[in-house]
Amino acid sequence: GYIRRLEVKGFKSFGPRALTITFEQGLNVVTGPNGSGKSNIADAILFALGENSPRVLRAAQGRLTGLIYDPKREAVEARRAAEGAEGEAGEGAARSFSPEDRPTSCKVSLQIDNADRKIPVDSDLVTLTRELKNNGENSYYLNGKKSTKSMIADFLEVSGLSPSGLNVIPQGAATRVADLTPDEKRKMIEDVV
């Protein structure tokens, strides 16, 4: 059950339009400048797999709705007004940065390879989709069919996909593990067993 495709729409810095990433089975290395959006890819994957903590997903303002793309319109407007006052040149530059309106929801779809049928569904691909509206409402879909949070959680458990047992290591986590006390290290191992 490896990840074949990740599709995001309105999620964090990926903007209001749909964006797709196709992954390979072997080693995939993601690189790019600071602030480009690398860790947001990890957050999108965790979001689709049911992660609900705004802290773990690094959601702005500590609320899940902070995951919805935010063009920070009011900040841009304020700056554009300031630039406008400096003459036409500001207008040109500002226009090329015309962020769209803030979407009302964010959506992430994760397409998982199932050729080996390890996941108890009779299809070569399994698609998990999660959508979060700006009113805080979540909707979950499995292969296009509406589902529920607990059904998805069960499904992930059975197919060995739920993010536990340290298969996702967020930025800075290795340094934190290095600095755990002996008791915390024992607890880390206990949690996995």
């Binding site: 990926f14 995939n28 290395v29 690189t31 090329s96 996995v192």
Partner: protein, 155 residues
Amino acid sequence: KRKVFGAAFATINNEFAGTFKTLTDGQAWLELENKEEMFTGGIYMMASFRGKPAWESSSMSGGEKSVTAVALILAIQKVNPHPFYLFDEIDQNLDQANSQSLASFFKERSSQAQIIVVSLKDTMVAGSGVAYGVYNVAGISRIVRAKMEVQVKSG
């Protein structure tokens, strides 16, 4: 519960020693604070880097601690296999030699399960099968994909 923990601890300890040896050619092992009552004591991470005496992780350097912690994480992952793994800048404070050996380790392990690694280091990018370049235009992230040619030599 005690039996299960004991068995898992032994497996993790073996894997930890093996992974650390592969990464650094040194020796590492876990020590239980209290062998009789596993659940009442902590666990110490011990390691001796090649040519150096053994230290407990709290007396190691920043990078040595990281390498040792990475070896432990990789060992724990073996106990509970997953179809995919994701690491976000796990090589941040590793020097050239350690990041090189981690890059080869990931390459090797990626034949058994999918690995997605976020890294700023050339060593890691050069060793990959496929590289994804993420960049930002006016606050919006874009991504380009590049299949790394086999003969790519890191500069």
